[in-house]
């Protein structure tokens, strides 16, 4: 294999995933023992490590997969290999700088981008290089793009925009007006997630078309209809995060209307469920196929939850509770991570077609992962429901008493968090081996 940069992206993505889970478990331990190491490693110090590492996992794995698919599967000659190298090095060194920034408390940023704001410059530069390389490569190699090429292009372009938007607070025009500033902050983070979803969901359609050996999956009118529906939600649907913020009501009306279009997505999933499963050719990619099946299930569960709390009357009770965390963890682990693991297995199979991936251990890991995630997800929903009951119904007792009453669900959340960590380590083991062997040769 000549171009190894995609594998470097994927390897560092996996390292970020497991480091992020370790930080997440360490942070969640403080829900159980609040005084434990709170002066040396307070929750407020561990959480940015966790969030940034997991965001990096998604972004690096999606980037590495896209580079691999474009250069090694589609066999398009990259516009610039040097630019790809520079992109990787920028992300690598900025990642290290961000960890130092967290370790030494240079954390002037905001939630999700807690690091020193100047570090956003090399990140943005990396995305711009990725964009130039991607669009130039595609433009010279292909006309009439399938939908996944549109989705990846959209994801890259909107990522650049929303990363900038997330730092508009540096200007007084935003910063001095608290409500506007706060709304734009949550607009940018919501759309930032929408941007990486474009990359990851594009990967899932790519994998489906390759595993099924059916390019129609990515070129039919329905695929484009859902792409544009997703794009409209990315652009205008963010304000369901801020229904209770005293913004102008029209902003929230628009968000309510746009969010409700996702019922169409749910109806489509239910309608296509059986048909899509039966058509899939699974022999060549058993684990990629299984992870996509798991994605189907997790999309179904998460979209129901998301749709329900996009209704303001329900959002009123779920907002500010762990039900929101269940949604964010359910989507990042249940949807993004399963799609990305499907991509990793697909890539590992391309690199070593003879290697058996669905070993008994990997299968056990896969089962434990899904069961653990389900209990983890339900624990958060129950914890959120109890918090909501305390906020809006009983209104009795202090915050600390309410927290104490949901400790059993935090214990369950912690234990099954370990289950997710260990099972994914087992599942990732053969992928690590393939990537390391290919990098060495």
């Amino acid at each position: 294999m000549k171009n190894k940069v995609p594998l470097y992206f994927l390897l560092f993505a996996l390292i970020a995933l497991f480091m992020g889970m370790f930080f997440g478990l360490a942070a969640s331990f403080q829900y159980l023992l609040p005084d434990f190491l709170k002066e040396a490693f307070p929750f407020s110090k561990l959480r940015p490590f966790h969030v940034t590492s997991e965001t990096s996992w998604i972004v690096l794995a999606a980037t590495g997969s896209i580079y691999f698919f474009v250069a090694s599967v589609e066999k398009f000659e990259l516009f610039s290999s040097k630019m790809q190298w520079l992109h990787f090095l920028l992300f690598l060194f900025t990642g290290v700088a961000i960890y130092f920034s967290f370790a030494f408390d240079y954390t002037e940023g905001r939630e999700y981008f807690a690091f020193k704001p100047i570090l956003m410059i090399p990140i943005l530069l990396g995305w711009v290089l990725f964009g130039i390389n991607y669009f130039k490569t595609l433009y010279t190699n292909m006309k009439g793009w399938p939908v996944y090429f549109w989705m990846w292009g959209t994801g890259i372009a909107f990522m650049c925009y929303h990363l900038m938007e997330a730092h508009f607070w540096l200007f007084d025009f935003f910063r001095l007006h608290f409500i506007k500033d706060f709304a734009v902050q949550w607009k940018s983070t919501g759309s930032f997630t929408g941007s990486w979803n474009m990359l990851v969901y594009g990967i899932s359609i790519y994998l489906m078309s390759k595993i099924k050996k059916d390019s129609n999956v990515a070129t039919n009118k329905m695929a484009f209809f859902f792409y544009f529906l997703g794009l409209i939600n990315l652009m205008f649907g963010w304000a369901h995060h801020t229904y209770l913020l005293p913004t102008q009501p029209w902003i929230r009306y628009v968000a309510y209307g746009i969010s409700m279009t996702e019922w169409i997505v749910l109806a489509s999933i239910i309608y296509n469920w059986k048909r899509s499963v039966l058509k899939v050719e699974k022999e060549n990619h058993p684990m990629a196929y299984r992870f996509l099946l798991a994605t189907d299930l997790w999309i179904f569960l998460n979209i129901i939850l998301a749709l329900l709390f996009s209704i303001p009357a329900i959002n009123f009770f779920t907002h500010g509770t762990h039900i929101t965390v269940a949604h964010s963890m359910g989507t990042t682990i249940g949807i993004n991570t399963t799609i990305l693991f499907s991509a990793l297995f697909f890539i590992a199979h391309r690199l070593q077609p003879r290697r058996q991936m669905d070993t008994p251990w990997v299968m056990r890991g896969f089962m434990v992962f899904n069961i653990s995630l389900f209990i983890f997800f339900v624990s958060l929903i129950i914890a959120g429901a109890k918090r909501s009951y305390w906020m809006y119904v009983s209104k009795e007792g202090s915050f600390a008493e309410m927290q104490d009453s949901i400790v059993p669900y935090y214990i369950s959340f912690f234990i099954f968090g370990i289950g997710i960590f260990v099972s994914l380590l087992i599942v990732a083991n053969p992928i690590f081996k393939v990537f390391l062997q290919k990098i060495k040769t």
């Binding site: 929750f43 009439g144 409500i179 706060f182 913020l245 303001p312 009357a313």
Partner: protein
């Protein structure tokens, strides 16, 4: 391969134009209730709130972390207020560590929370839930 991508390009151009216009309006729209701009002291407090990652555990308008309570109206809630905030900043509690803020820094944080408090109400107990699923929130100027 898509035989005729032109309709998709056309839709994309229209969406981008709408997105540009929508962003322009959003960026130039203030909150529903007219409030003073953040004062220099409050901006300093906001910087401290960010630098010390208070958002990791605490929420404003239900947005932030879940380990600590929401702080939107901690300034004006009966039985709480500036001294209550400073007491927590001085000693920490449960998983909240001691932060060793100077008196000036504590004042800045209190000023920031005071100005946040003036912008609205959360949790919004007097909001009206309508049959359409809409929630009409109660604003500060309706008190």
């Amino acid at each position: 391969m898509v035989a005729n991508p032109r309709p998709y390009i056309f839709i994309m151009v229209i969406l981008l134009a709408l997105f540009g216009f929508y962003n322009y309006v959003i960026y130039n729209t203030d909150g529903y209730v007219a409030v003073e701009k953040l004062s220099p002291v409050a901006v300093n407090g906001q910087q401290l709130f960010q630098k010390n990652r208070c958002w990791s555990c605490h929420q404003l308008y239900g947005l932030g972390g879940y380990l600590g309570p929401d702080l939107t109206n901690v300034y004006s809630t009966e039985g709480k207020g500036p001294n209550y905030i400073k007491a927590f900043l001085n000693s920490g509690v449960k998983s909240m560590p001691q932060f060793h803020f100077t008196e000036e820094e504590k004042d800045a944080l209190v000023e920031y929370l005071k100005q946040v408090d003036e912008t609205g109400i959360y949790p919004n107990y007097d909001a009206e839930i309508e049959a359409t699923g809409w929630v009409k929130i109660k604003y500060r100027n309706e008190e």
